[in-house]
C-alpha cells in the first residue's frame, strides 16, 4: 500500500528534482557560505581553512564611521518608497475605476504600467539625461516657471526625494492594477443597494469601495514591510555618485563597495548577513501578520 502511493508520487518527485538541485547549489550553498562573515577569509585556504574570528568583522563594520547613517538612509528611503508606493496606486486605481469607457481605461493602464518593464540601467540613463542641470528637460521646464535649476542627482537634499519619486513613477502602475482588480471584484449589488438608499458617489466610495479594497491594501502594506531594508540596489547604484553618498548610500551599495571595490570579503558578508537576518525577521512577521489579519497564504 505504502509503496503504491510512493510509486504514484514518484513522477511528481521527478518533476521537482531539477529545481531542487539548482536551488540547492545556487541558493543554499551561498547561504551556508555566509559563514565567512565570521572568518578572516583567505581564498587560498578556502571556507574551511580560514581563521575564525568570531564577531570581529561585524564589530569592524559597525565601527565604520558611516554605518549608522547608511542604515538610516536605507530605512528612510525604503519607507518613503513603501508609503508612496501604496498611496499613489490606491488613488490612481480609485480614479481609474471611475472611468466607464473600457478602451480609455485600458489604454491608460497600458501606459502607466509601461515603465515597470524598463530596467534601472535604461531608466537611469534616461533620468541622468532629463534631470541634468545643464540642459535636462526637467530643469528647462522649471526654468519656464522661473525656478532655479535643481541638481536632482547631485544635491544631498534632493537625491533621496529623486529616488523615491522616480521609484514611484516606475512602479505605481503595477500596484494600481492589483488594486484595480480588487475594485472590480466588489459585488455590484452593494452599489445598487447604496444608490437606492440615496448615497452619492462620494458616499459610495467611502462606505463601499474603500472597505472593499481594505483587505488587499492591508495585505500589500504588510507584505512590503519585509522590504524596509531593501532601498533598491539597482536604482541607487545606477543613479548615485560619491557626492551624494551622504544621503543616498544604502546597505546594498555599501556591501557592494566594501566587498568588491575594497575586497573586504569578511566584513562585506557580515553586513550582508546582518541585513538578511533582520529582513528575515521582518518578512516572517509580515507574512504572519498577513496570514493573521488578511488570511493570506503564500501558496
Amino acid at each position: 500500500m505504502k509503496t503504491g502511493k510512493w510509486r504514484r508520487e514518484l513522477p511528481l518527485h521527478i518533476l521537482v528534482f531539477p529545481s531542487i538541485v539548482i536551488v540547492f547549489i545556487y541558493s543554499y550553498i551561498p547561504m551556508f557560505g555566509n559563514i565567512i562573515a565570521f572568518q578572516d577569509f583567505n581564498p587560498i585556504k578556502g571556507v574551511f581553512g580560514s581563521t575564525w574570528t568570531g564577531l570581529t568583522n561585524l564589530e569592524y563594520v559597525l565601527e565604520m564611521p558611516n554605518t549608522y547613517r547608511i542604515i538610516w538612509n536605507t530605512i528612510y528611503i525604503a519607507s518613503m518608497k513603501i508609503i508612496l508606493g501604496n498611496i499613489v496606486p490606491i488613488i490612481i486605481a480609485l480614479l481609474l475605476n471611475e472611468i466607464r469607457k473600457k478602451a480609455v481605461k485600458r489604454s491608460i493602464q497600458t501606459l502607466i504600467y509601461f515603465p515597470y518593464f524598463l530596467s534601472w540601467v535604461i531608466l537611469a540613463g534616461i533620468f541622468i539625461d532629463i534631470l541634468s542641470i545643464q540642459n535636462g528637460i526637467v530643469n528647462q521646464a522649471l526654468g519656464w516657471f522661473g525656478i532655479d535649476p535643481i541638481y536632482f542627482l547631485g544635491d544631498n537634499k534632493w537625491f533621496p526625494i529623486t529616488l523615491v519619486l522616480t521609484d514611484t513613477w516606475k512602479n505605481f502602475g503595477f500596484n494600481t492594477i492589483v488594486f484595480l482588480a480588487a475594485l472590480t471584484s466588489i459585488n455590484p449589488s452593494l452599489y445598487e443597494a447604496a444608490i437606492i438608499d440615496g448615497a452619492n458617489r462620494w458616499k459610495q466610495t467611502l462606505h463601499i469601495t474603500l472597505p472593499g479594497i481594505l483587505p488587499i491594501v492591508i495585505l500589500m502594506t504588510t507584505l512590503s514591510l519585509g522590504n524596509v531594508l531593501n532601498a533598491g540596489f539597482d536604482q541607487v547604484f545606477n543613479l548615485y555618485s560619491p557626492q551624494v553618498y551622504e544621503s543616498g548610500d544604502i546597505l546594498d551599495t555599501l556591501i557592494y563597495r566594501i566587498g568588491v571595490s575594497d575586497a573586504q570579503y569578511g566584513p562585506a558578508t557580515a553586513i550582508g548577513l546582518l541585513k538578511s537576518f533582520v529582513s528575515f525577521l521582518l518578512i516572517s512577521v509580515s507574512y504572519w501578520l498577513a496570514y493573521r489579519f488578511a488570511n493570506y497564504r503564500i501558496f
Binding site: 529545481s19 524598463l118 540601467v121 566587498g259 537576518f277 516572517s284
Partner: protein, 294 residues
C-alpha cells in the same frame, strides 16, 4: 437634485480623465524625450534645444553605435540569453508549479518542498558566497552563469501554482481516469488552460533576462562578452571606455556624447517596447488571477 449631481459628476469625470491622461503621458514622456534626443543632431542636443521632437534630424548616433562591434555583440548575447534563459526557466517553473499545486494527500512531500523553496525568498546568501559558488561550479565567463543560477524564480512558481490550483479538479481526475499520467495531464490539460498565466510568467522572465545587468558585471570577465544591459550599464552609467581606437575618439567628438547615449538607451529599450503590447493583454488577467486569489 439629480440634475445638479450629474453636473458635478460630469465635471469630475472630465477633470479625472484629463488628469489620468496627463499622468499616463508623464509615464512615457521621458522615454519620448530621449528618443527625440537620439535622432537629433549633436549640436542641437548639446545646446538643449530638443524637446519632444527631433531637432535637425540625424542618424549619426545610430550609425556610430551600429558600427561598434561590442554593441552588436552584446545585443546578440542578450538574445541568446533570453532564449536559453526563458526556455530553461519556463520548463522548471511549469514542472515545479505543477507538482507543488497538488494537495498534500496526493503528494505527501509537497509542504516540505514548498518550504524548501520559500525559505530562499526569506533568506539569501551574501554577494561574495554567491560569487564564489558560481566560480566553483565553473560557470564563470560562460552564458550559463547568466542562465542557470537564477533559473528557478520562486515568485513565478507561486504565481503559476496558484493559477493551477484555481483550475477545476474534475479535469485532472477525468484525465487520470482516461489513463493519462502527470506528464500528459500537465501538457494536455493544464497548459492550454493556463495560457494567460503562462504568458505573464514568460513575459516576466523575458523582461527579467533582458534587463538584468548585475550578474553580467560580476560573472562575465571580458567586456566583449557582456549582455546588452551590462554593456549599457558600463557604457552609459559608468562611462567605461574600453579599448578605444583613435578614430573612435574622432567620431565621438562629431556626434555628441548625449545623442549616442540616447540612441543606446533607445535600442536597449526597443525589444521591451516591441513585446509589451502583445503580451500585456494576457498578463493583466494572468497576474491578477495568480496573485489575488479568493
Amino acid at each position: 437634485m439629480i440634475q445638479r449631481a450629474s453636473v458635478t459628476r460630469s465635471l469630475f469625470n472630465i477633470c479625472n480623465l484629463i488628469f489620468l491622461i496627463a499622468l499616463s503621458l508623464l509615464c512615457i514622456l521621458p522615454v519620448i524625450q530621449v528618443i527625440a534626443v537620439s535622432f537629433s543632431s549633436s549640436s542641437a542636443a548639446a545646446a538643449g534645444l530638443v524637446k519632444l521632437w527631433p531637432v535637425e534630424f540625424s542618424l549619426k548616433s545610430y550609425e556610430f553605435i551600429l558600427k561598434k562591434k561590442d554593441f552588436l555583440g552584446s545585443f546578440l548575447i542578450s538574445i541568446q540569453r533570453v532564449v536559453l534563459g526563458t526556455g530553461i526557466s519556463m520548463f522548471l517553473t511549469v514542472t515545479l508549479g505543477y507538482a507543488l499545486s497538488k494537495e498534500v494527500k496526493d503528494f505527501r512531500m509537497r509542504s516540505v518542498y514548498a518550504w524548501y523553496f520559500v525559505i530562499t525568498i526569506l533568506f539569501s546568501g551574501g554577494l561574495i558566497p554567491w560569487y564564489l559558488t558560481i566560480k566553483y561550479t565553473h560557470l564563470m565567463d560562460t552564458i550559463w552563469a547568466l542562465v542557470i543560477p537564477g533559473a528557478v524564480t520562486v515568485f513565478n512558481v507561486i504565481l503559476l501554482l496558484n493559477f493551477f490550483r484555481g483550475l477545476p479538479k474534475e479535469l485532472e481526475e477525468s484525465s487520470f481516469i482516461d489513463g493519462a499520467n502527470h506528464w500528459i495531464t500537465l501538457w494536455r490539460i493544464y497548459l492550454p488552460l493556463s495560457m494567460p498565466a503562462i504568458a505573464t510568467v514568460t513575459l516576466f522572465t523575458i523582461v527579467g533576462h533582458w534587463n538584468s545587468w548585475f550578474d553580467g558585471l560580476m560573472l562575465v570577465n571580458s567586456p566583449s562578452h557582456y549582455p546588452l544591459a551590462t554593456y549599457l550599464q558600463t557604457a552609459i552609467i559608468q562611462q567605461d571606455f574600453a579599448n578605444m581606437r583613435a578614430e573612435d575618439v574622432k567620431t565621438l567628438s562629431e556626434i555628441s556624447d548625449r545623442t549616442t547615449r540616447a540612441a543606446q538607451i533607445f535600442i536597449g529599450a526597443l525589444p521591451i517596447m516591441a513585446v509589451y503590447p502583445f503580451l500585456q493583454k494576457y498578463f493583466m488577467t494572468g497576474l491578477v488571477m495568480g496573485s489575488v486569489k479568493e
